[in-house]
Symmetry: C2
Subunit: 156 residues, 2 copies
């Protein structure tokens, strides 16, 4: 069976040292500042990055414990397929996040709205492009209004 | 140096057999139908997927030839950092695409708006969630209006 291997291009430094502290909702990551420490040998690849307002980060869920095909979440009481969820317990524990770019200084990238655990190995950085990445969904299945539902659940 | 290794969860069957045929612009992928063949042992993970209108696919750019930190593209005449571009020649050749979900039949997933090469090894499927994934950019650097610019260049 073929394996595809990558080497981290850097590491993410964030305020979230434990998996339980990582924001489970986009709204709770709002404004959270963090830093990407890119390996110095990739610094040239940052040219022109600073002119983008949003970045896509692709990274390895290094704190994920195990893998499951069916998961339960906080948002409801049912089981759901792993590919219909954003759980970290995926066959390939790859995470993606869209963050705001604050600034670049040499091999350091300052970001905002970070929902990523401290020490996370970073695999890729891409510029967020509306034409490729922004879509209006018609349906979001069991995750319809999950943020509202979760906030309501929290209050109760 | 650490390596992070993944095993493909399936393969993408699309009309694009050569890298030169893969749509370079979101607009040229519009309506393109394709199929994901998930490995049968992961089929259970598709539960509830069909209720989502859009999916994020994460995959390996298996046709990428080489790696570069500075690239040139069709959209202008300058060099740009690889992390400020969507080129396949990245340190870790990982691609992401948002596609529309048409339907699921056992381990087959039918999709639309596919800009991915035929035979691409698939690493992950996630539901596209507006709350996480849709953002209004303030600036897109050298890729501002790239689609319009590219269409104009094509006409000339």
């Amino acid at each position: 069976m073929i394996e595809i291997c990558y080497r981290p291009i850097g590491v993410i430094h964030s305020p979230f040292r434990e998996i339980a502290k990582v924001p489970g909702l986009p709204i709770t990551a709002k404004g959270v500042e963090a830093q990407i420490e890119l390996k110095a040998r990739f610094q040239e690849g940052l040219q022109d990055l600073e002119a983008f307002s949003h970045l896509i980060l692709i990274y390895h869920f290094h704190l994920a414990e195990g893998k499951k095909l069916l998961i339960r979440s906080l948002w409801d009481d049912d089981e759901h397929g792993i590919f219909a969820s954003r759980s970290t317990l995926r066959p390939n524990p790859i995470g993606i996040s869209v963050v705001q770019l604050v600034g670049v200084e040499e091999n350091l990238i300052f970001i905002r709205d970070c929902d990523i655990a401290d020490g996370t190995p970073l695999l890729d950085i891409k510029p967020y492009l509306t034409e490729y990445d922004a879509h209006a969904t018609r349906s979001q299945g069991w995750l319809k209004d999950f943020q509202k539902k979760a906030m309501k659940k929290k209050k109760n």
